[in-house]
Amino acid sequence: MPEYLVRLAQIHETFRKAELHALAELAGVELEIVKYDDDSPYCIVHLPSDAAAKQVASRAMLIQGIYELWGQGSTYDEFRSNVTETSSTKWPTYQTSTFSFRIERYRGVQAPAEQTRAIIESFQFLGFKGKVQIKNPEASFRIFEEYDLDAKEPKYLYLGRWIADSGRDAKNTYDLKKRHYISTTSMDAELALLTANIAQAAPGKIFYDPFMGTGGFPLACAHYGAVVTGSDIDGRSIRGLGGSARRGQTGKKNVEMNFQQYGLEGNYLGGFVSDLTNTPLRLPSSHGVTTETDFAYLDGIVCDPPYGIREGLKVLGSRETLLPTERATHAAQYRTEGYIPPKRPYSFTALLDDILTFAVSTLVPNGRLSMWMPTANDEDVELIIPQHPCLELTSVCVQAFNKWSRRLLTYRRKRASEIPEGALEEMAKRAYETGTRASDLNDFRRKYFQGFREFEDMKKEFIRMKVGAGVKQEEARAEADQIQEAKVSAAEKAELAKKEVEARTKDAEAAAVKAEELNERFNAEART
């Protein structure tokens, strides 16, 4: 298969391969990544044809352009001979075309014009006789020089014939700064569009966002042609009664108007107010349909569930079980204007599992679930990715922040034939955090507000004290790290010790119970 050079955007590196694969699969073309490095914007792939290359690139967010690879090398001599080797059969095709020739330097400095000219002229051996034309040429070529940071000489070179640009411009069109109606937790446009790409939103499909807020994800999916709907537990964000989060903006704005802003209102089915744990959407159990997949109707679910930090994590219900009198009050008053149903905090891990269960019931085979999930950087992250026997994890992309990161998890709904027998029965009811306060229920929230601050603060304080006492800063830091490690292992030891004590207490209790029994029996026997 022919080789193509993908010029990637040097941002959100862990999302790039996931997007490439998702788009290739959506376009129904075979794609094989030959050369890829997170530190480089150049990636070489195998694709069946120019048309396929164009199809993959045209709506990508993290691609800037796609080129037919005409040669590569680490020095100019090697590069030029490789160009002859790779592409000499293609030269005659472009012999009389109008053409342009440019150089792109990644991480390099701008070279003087005469040097650039000399490089371009050294490619005269391609034998092009057509006119040079910068605007709209019939064939456009580009030399890519890749440098190491602060290096004088390029470390690698590519020559490519331009095939297509990408859909990256959409991130400017959908920029949150220009959107009429947003909220404090609206997802950045680039990442929302990227999510829609990885979830394979496309014409003819129907997508749903159970935590829509002001509709950022549905909007991104609608941009790619999907028909969308969404819901949120807070009706004000959909109807727009709460006002816009944009400073100085007055007047009514709502989700519908966001769709109108981009001319996508035809793709918007409308939103509704609901809670995922008491969803009104039809589920297979509601009609006694046994073959789940016959019943499914969603092509994709995209969401950024509330983490319980900036946006509270609540579901319907009360913190304490309602007393009969309270229930009577609710029953009597729920029809009155301004009645607000009670809500209670909910466990984050339980919510993630609820999303998976919901996705399994509603997604068509091969449908996608893409959801964002936060995590503290110091945890062993791989362990806590939620799993379901009917869902296959297709990609994990990470956006790292300072002390925490969030990940985009994408799952594929398996076909009925792919699901191992008995797997569903094993999904026994899992144990979740219990409690009535938000922090008891949400590990991440707790860590966010104390956890990953605690250690850092202590470490800083320690270093400051040591430096004050005349110790070199680096030594102090090393020592602080050691103490931190020691503290962690001490915590582990304490945990073990606690467990042992618990186990012993249990033994002792069991022994006491047994003794009691024996005693009783003995007494009874003595009486007879």
């Binding site: 499909k205 129907i206 509704f272 107010v273 309602l322 149903p341």
Partner: protein, 144 residues
């Protein structure tokens, strides 16, 4: 909310969900509005097999909309000239013209919206209010 959504919505009360009469929800005192949109043929084709046709007909009857045919249309019914199968096979998606059936279906599913009114569960009789085109499915404290 566009009428297609009603084909996916049941009563939110868990004990109701297992009862067949909780679907579809019955519109009451509904104010309808038409929001014109281009016919989305690929979408209609895709969604057609996922529709609960009988329930859709019920809703249309209750809203006083023109009757839908008793059996769901086939994918070829959606393309104009769809009966002559030899020509449709060769044509690409972009060239296909929607038939009158497709236009009617599009009108009902994707252009007719409920702006105000109530959706009532056929099982428990609980009413869900629709305001400004947004239905509220939050359950009061005593029903969760």
């Amino acid at each position: 909310m566009k009428l297609l959504t009603l084909n996916f919505l049941t009563c939110a009360i868990k004990t109701c969900k297992t009862n067949a009469s909780s679907f579809p929800l019955h519109p009451r005192d509904a104010e309808l509005e038409i929001q014109e949109a281009d016919v989305n043929l690929p979408f209609l084709k895709n969604i057609l097999p996922r529709l609960m046709w009988e329930e859709l007909r019920t809703i249309c009857k209750e809203l006083g909309l023109p009757d839908l045919p008793p059996t769901p249309p086939t994918p070829t019914d959606l393309i104009s000239g769809g009966n002559s199968t030899d020509t449709t096979e060769g044509r690409t998606q972009a060239e296909q013209e929607p038939s009158q059936t497709a236009k009617d279906l599009h009108r009902v599913l994707l252009e007719t919206c409920i702006q105000e009114g109530k959706l009532v569960c056929g099982c428990c009789g609980h009413e869900y209010a629709v305001k400004e085109g947004v239905a509220n499915f939050l359950l009061p404290g005593h029903l969760v």
